[in-house]
Structures are given as C-alpha cells and as structure tokens.
Subunit: 172 residues, 2 copies
DNA sequence: GATATTTGATATGGTGCATAACGATTATTA
DNA sequence: TAATAATCGTTATGCACCATATCAAATATC
C-alpha cells in the first residue's frame, strides 16, 4: 500500500484499488452521494424544497405562501366551514391555525363569522378581495409554476408523479 | 331557489344545481380538496412528511433522524472531508451543522480531527461505533423502510419516482 | 341541572433554517 | 516581509413551523 500524505490522497488510492467509478466533476468539488441518491425521503425533501422555492417566486407579487394559498383554495371550495375543519384537512393544528388566519384576515383576504348555529365556532369566508387574489394566484400558479413543472417533467410524467405522491400520502 | 337554514345546506344545494360530484364520505366529514390535489408542491410535502414519519419508525431503535443518517452515509462515502464540505453537499448551513455534529460526536458516532494541512478545518471521521450503527441503520432502512415503499409503489414506479425527483432537485 | 365535550385562543417549548459576527488560521498582495 | 483579505468552525440571534397543555365560552350529554 502506498503512503499518502493527505487524507484526500488516501481516498483516491483506496478508490483506485477497489476500481470504483469517480464523480465526473472530480474528487475535490463533488462529493459521492452514495446510497443517498436512492433514498426516497432524501430526494423527496430536496425536490419539495425546490418546488416550494419556485412557487414562492411565481406567486411573489401576491405575497402568498404555499400554505396560505392552500387555505384560500380550501375556503373557496368549502364555504361554511369552521377553523377546525379547514385546519384538519390541511394537517394544521388548530392552535397554529389561529395566527395564520390572523394574517389572512388582517390583509382582508378572509373573515371569521360567528356561526348562528354554534356560537363557539367561526365560519370562514373569503372576502371579495380574497376571491380576487385567489383568482390571480391561481393563474400565476397554473401559467408560471405548474407550467414549468410540466415542461421539465413532461405531461405524462407529471401526472404519474402526482398519482404516486397521492398514493404515498394515502397508504402510508 | 330553495331556502336553506344552514351554510352547509347552501353548499349542498348549490352543488346539486351544478351537478358536481360529491366526496364519497359525504359533506360533513370530508372536505373538497379541489385543485389542491393537482398542486405538485402540496402532494410533495404531504408525501415527504409521511415518508419521513415511516423512516423514523423504522430506524427508531437506533435513534437516528433522516438528516443524521444522511450525514453518517456521507462521512462513510467521503472520508477526509471537513465540516463545510459535508454540510454544503447536504444543503445544511455551516452554523446549523455545528450542533448536529455535536450531537453525533457526543454519541461517539463520529469525531472531528484537526487537519494537519489546514489547522482551521476539522476532518470528519466515522468512529467504529459510527460505522457499526450506520451498518445497522442501512439494513433497517433497506429492509423495512424502502422495502415498504417499493411494495406500495411497485419497483418500476419507485425507480421512476426517484428519477423524477432527482430531475426536479437538479433542474429547478 | 350537573358534567363532559367542543371551539377558538393563548402560552410555551422544540426544531429547522437563515444571517451577522467573532477568533484562529491561511491566502493574497502591496 | 508586512498588511490585508479570505476561510473555517463557532456563537448568538431571530424567524418560521410544529406540538402540547390549558383556558373561557358555548354546547352536548347524561
């Protein structure tokens, strides 16, 4: 075995002995991911971060986070629901949903109305401004964000991806 | 138009007029996700949470988080690297990597060694215990975690999913 | 009518993530 | 060579997200 001064040298020689492939970019710049690239959870998280990043860019003019957008969408599709119901379907805990609604309500995007049936609960409603912002957000998401995703993946792959992710979210 | 006392009634009637399909579980329990189910970012995040949850369950006996596991994997595949290099490839900021390494080092899974070349940097090495824990973790991940994923998705889909996620993480 | 449950809310703690700044060391350059 | 800049690990700090316990008001249950 040859004597090597640096640790990097030792890596190079041991890899040479085992005849392992080396990253195209070389030893110094790119590290070996190893089985990390086969770890679904790792790839999922990295992809999710990138996609959220792009979402924020695309919808930046409206100052909406993915979570806020999902709330507006849900309020539009499900009028007459209270905080607990909306929060539950989004996987948000009720205490954490309070501040979120405060932010949306302070921007006049939605409003809490005391229910006449059950005066404990707040019926959530989109304001006119909320509906307008949602409409503009939908367009940005569809034409900029999702359009880019479909372009990168291809329409068929995009659909297949959605299906697999839905299955994971359900059966897991 | 019929007069309805409750908001839920109003939803039911308007949906009846538009002849929209109703969730199988009924109006009260299940809410309409709407275009949320077509939002890739939404599905990505929900799937990622489920997968991480399962990872934690499977590797619970070793008390390793996904992030910690990824660090051990990377140290094994890339000996002789310093903190900045490892942190960068994992997308972890150097300040936040310090506490992470402290935790691993306090459990004797890895060690920091002052580099002789550059006495500023710490060369990271797996300890014997670290290698042993990593070996056991790899088995748990492969046989319990990834095995279940492949079973749910099917091997071909699992591979296709990985490929698409990698493409998203790269080209986005 | 007494007790239990539900709803929105508050407080609080943990964790992940981001930025600024520091001392020690090394690299650059005047 | 001396002065300056850059890098490495580290600390401090703040923000966002997530989770639990708890509360008052209102409702449901018995």
């Amino acid at each position: 075995m040859t004597v090597s001064k640096t640790a990097a040298d030792a890596v190079r020689s041991s890899r040479a002995l085992r005849r392992e492939p080396v990253d195209p970019a070389g030893d110094d710049s790119m590290l070996q991911l190893g089985e990390l690239s086969g770890l679904l959870g790792y790839s999922l998280k990295r992809a999710q971060l990138k996609v959220f990043e792009d979402f924020l860019r695309c919808v930046a003019p409206l100052q909406l986070t993915p979570a806020q957008f999902s709330v507006l969408l849900l309020l539009d599709k499900n009028p007459g629901r209270n905080q607990t119901e909306i929060a539950n379907t989004l996987g948000i805990l009720r205490p954490n949903f309070v501040a979120m609604l405060d932010a949306l309500e302070s921007r006049d995007l939605c409003a809490r109305m005391r229910s006449t049936n059950d005066r404990r609960s707040h019926i959530l409603v989109l304001t006119d401004k909320g509906r307008a912002v949602l409409a503009r957000a939908k367009k940005l998401v569809a034409n900029k964000h999702e359009a880019r995703l479909i372009e990168v993946l291809g329409p068929a792959n995009h659909a297949a991806l959605l299906e697999m992710l839905a299955k994971l979210a359900q059966e897991f």
